[in-house]
Amino acid sequence: MPSGLHAFEEFRPQPWRDRRMEVILGNLLRAGVMVSAVVVLWGACIYLHRHWHEAAAYRIFRGEPSDYRTIPGVIESARGGHGRGWIQLGLLLLIATPIARVAFSIVGFSIERDRLYVVFTCVVLVILLYSLLGSGLRL
């Protein structure tokens, strides 16, 4: 501990601590990650069971078929019981987790009546949604 630190702290403005929000955001992130991990794990069981003896080859890029490139395709594939469909569904949930975190932050900051950060967070969410929807990702 530097000796000068105490004197400093006296006239330093109280640092912002958003304890409650930190705990809620932490739990939200954990839940999102855990749910997606379970879905991916389930898909992995099916996938490994079906492709146990095949060789892995990723040297040449072929691109994924549309089943794994669009949200309806992924859902359809998962409903058909395909391991890869379930994995891809879990990955979609994983991608949704940070987006949900941003969306929830808007609620959190408005509860704290912090208008500046409500605006900041809205800007982030709009850019996020724009890049997701404008990227050709079919919903």
Partner: protein, 338 residues
């Protein structure tokens, strides 16, 4: 040297032309048409597998073994990623391309997944511990997400090698700059008016005690973050290195707060470009599955270590990781093999 490089490049092109399925279980047996319709010998000959590159490691692996090895490597990547705020993508893209001969586009897709997994998995712990600063994170995310948007669209017409060279250069520069340790005087800076108005200043608690900090140079930090976002859109990684550096070096935020806040942010940056890569077919479920699960487990272990670790050793790990990988990427970018 030049001749050798040319030969290798030829090998890759041959392989691409052949496009033979080689047991790739790919898409439930449906083999997609190769980009150039297969030449007869391409279909019969498993095109010179061992000749590409000088590493002859896993030439042919079955899916369970491949899954297991990739998961183990991803575990290490997630551990390092959550400790350094780099997100695991920095480690995974080179490892997958160099040692597993994965096409860089699949590797980018998988590392994108790994970045989101590390970020969300580790951030859950770091946010609860109060080490990451969510206000700094949210404020700077405006810069990184808009940068990522630009980068993802530039990526379509950037050649793969140029991306590798950019990536390598960024890593080398980061390794050089991040070794600089701050003096006590540099740690205790007076509050900056802009940072105070944006409520960015904060405090945290770790093994070294309770520390408060005042954020500096907000405009330059914000611009650097835009650059970091562009790179992450280009490379498919969170480019946590640039984020950590912008916070640590420009904004004078304590190293642990910088790495954990970077870790908190990279998931959002990666999610911004996830749509682009997903819809282009870069995200392969068979490859992303072990990556995601491995990285997640590794990142959860990393969060337990970081709280107890000394900043000095974290800085060292950070710069070693990016130095080694920067050199590898430059080599691959200049002499081929990607």
């Amino acid at each position: 040297m030049q001749r050798g490089g040319g030969g290798r490049k030829g090998g890759i092109e041959d392989a691409a032309k052949g496009g033979s399925p080689r047991g790739y279980s790919g898409f439930h047996g449906k083999v997609l048409a190769p980009r150039t319709p297969g030449t007869p010998q391409g279909m019969t000959q498993p095109v010179a597998e061992g000749n590409i590159g000088n590493v002859t490691l896993p030439v042919r692996m079955t899916i369970p073994i491949f899954t297991l090895v990739v998961a183990a490597v991803s575990f290490a990547a997630g551990l390092l990623g959550s400790l350094t705020g780099l997100g695991g993508g920095v480690v995974l893209v080179p490892l997958l391309t160099i040692f597993f001969h994965v096409d860089i586009r699949y590797a980018i897709g998988a590392s994108l997944v790994s970045v989101i997994a590390t970020s969300s998995g580790a951030a859950a712990a770091y946010v609860k511990e109060g080490i990451s600063n969510i206000r700094i994170g949210m404020f700077l995310e405006m810069a990184t997400t808009s940068g990522a948007l630009l980068g993802a669209f530039l990526a379509t017409w950037m050649p793969v090698r140029a991306i590798a060279v950019i990536f390598g250069t960024v890593l080398l520069y980061s390794a050089y700059i991040s070794r600089r340790v701050r003096t006590e005087a540099q740690r205790n800076l007076p509050p900056d008016p802009l940072a105070t108005r944006l409520r960015l200043n904060g405090s945290f608690h770790d093994i070294e005690g309770h520390r408060t900090y005042n954020v500096q140079n907000v405009p330059s930090g914000f611009s650097l973050m835009f650059g970091a976002g562009t790179l992450s859109g280009l490379l498919g990684i969170g480019s946590g290195a640039v984020k950590v550096l912008a916070m640590d070096q420009a904004m004078r935020i304590p190293f642990k707060v910088s790495t954990t806040t970077s870790n908190f942010m990279i998931g959002v940056t990666a999610a911004a470009s996830a749509g682009v890569y997903l819809s282009r077919g870069y995200v392969d479920p068979g490859l992303s599955m072990p990556v995601m699960l491995g990285v997640l487990a590794g990142s959860l272990l990393g969060t337990r270590i970081l709280v107890k670790a000394e900043t000095k050793s974290l800085r060292l790990v950070f710069s070693i990781v990016i130095l080694v990988l920067g050199l590898q990427m430059l080599y691959k970018g200049f002499w081929g093999g990607l």
